[in-house]
């Protein structure tokens, strides 16, 4: 839940990158961090396993500038994607204001991606949040795999799998090279801030 500080005229919001394991959530954050590093004052926090997989979360804060006279501070988090880490995944979602769901376009990852979106719905529900009422952007990542001969789902198929009911904005991406990462980030920040607009008088 965003915090509005009337004394400092500041808003703090929390955006979480969610999705299946090895889907590219950390890669998204690393790319954003690299691109915006001049505007980020701190190191990126990453709690990883020895095998370099996210164990708890990655995190960095980012100052977006002013909107309606308020300084907007965005806190970006990823969750661990592996199924077994649901307890920690749920913790990171606490107080979330906006979600990017990073889906894996590879045909072999289709089921894992669908299950992860179901898991997001369930975990939001534990905080009495409805996915339909939460600012959400979908990212269909790893589009570049096709060039390496790895079968990827057509956009229509992955969109039908994930977005037929949600009707959320979506972006094609190859986070490893940065394609689609910044548009996804811009869209979720705009949607999250817009959802708070009533409170920013």
């Amino acid at each position: 839940m965003a915090f509005i500080n009337l004394k400092k005229k500041e808003v703090q919001v929390k955006i979480v990158y969610y999705g299946p394991g090895r889907g590219g959530k950390t890669t998204n954050l690393e790319y954003i961090y690299k691109k915006l590093s001049r505007r980020i004052k701190t190191e990126m926090v990453a709690i990883k396993t020895h095998g370099d997989r996210t164990l708890f979360f990655d995190f960095f804060p980012f100052e977006m500038g002013k909107i309606k006279g308020y300084d907007i501070k965005i806190q970006l988090y990823t969750v661990p994607g592996q199924v077994k880490y649901n307890a920690t995944r749920k913790l990171v979602l606490r107080g979330v204001d906006g979600v990017v769901f990073v889906g894996d376009s590879a045909v072999v990852r289709r089921e894992k991606t669908i299950l992860s979106l179901e898991n997001l719905k369930e975990n939001l529900a534990t905080y009495n949040k409805d996915i339909f009422q939460t600012p959400l952007v979908l990212q269909y990542n790893k589009r570049d795999l096709e060039e390496q001969g790895i079968p990827v789902l057509p956009i229509e198929t992955i969109d039908q799998d994930l977005n037929s009911e949600l009707k959320a904005p979506f972006f094609e991406a190859s986070a490893i090279v940065g394609t689609g990462v910044i548009p996804t980030f811009k869209k979720i920040t705009a949607m999250t801030i817009a959802s708070l607009e009533k409170e920013l008088k």
């Binding site: 839940m1 004394k7 929390k14 701190t42 926090v45 960095f60 307890a87 606490r94 107080g95 204001d97």
Partner: protein, 130 residues
């Protein structure tokens, strides 16, 4: 959804963080919410900590320890204390949604510190409830 704290409430909270708690030897104190947002902070001395990361990790750590509590049949562990060679961190819950994080060195008397923190929590709770 968002929650708002008024200027007067924040000033009252800052008064506790800036004047009351440093008397117990606390040199860095934050009031955060369980999402990791920073409500108020105060730091004295030369060392400047990475406050946003401290807040994010504190909220996550507290959440993780409370999940552990539930697994062993406890409702919660409302106080956590991490001791280091030079620096220590004390976490205490304020109402259901907030966490007071205090950093202090080994010169500080733990008994006095706990007493001061308990009193500060009472005052902060009153402000937040009003």
């Amino acid at each position: 959804m968002a929650y708002v704290l008024k200027q007067t409430h924040l000033e009252d909270i800052e008064e506790i963080l800036e004047n009351y708690l440093p008397q117990a030897g606390i040199h860095c104190v934050l009031l955060i919410d369980m999402a990791g947002n920073i409500i108020a902070e105060h730091e004295i001395g030369k060392t400047k900590h990475d406050i946003p990361s401290l807040a994010a990790l504190s909220a996550a750590n507290f959440g993780a320890v409370n999940a552990l509590a539930k697994i062993i049949g406890e409702e919660e562990f409302s106080v956590l204390f991490n001791k280091g060679e030079r620096e220590n961190i004390h976490f205490s819950k304020v109402l259901d949604e907030f966490l007071l994080v205090c950093i202090f060195d080994n010169e500080v008397s733990l008994g006095l510190l706990r007493l001061k923190i308990a009193k500060a929590i009472g005052k902060i709770r009153e402000i937040l409830e009003s």
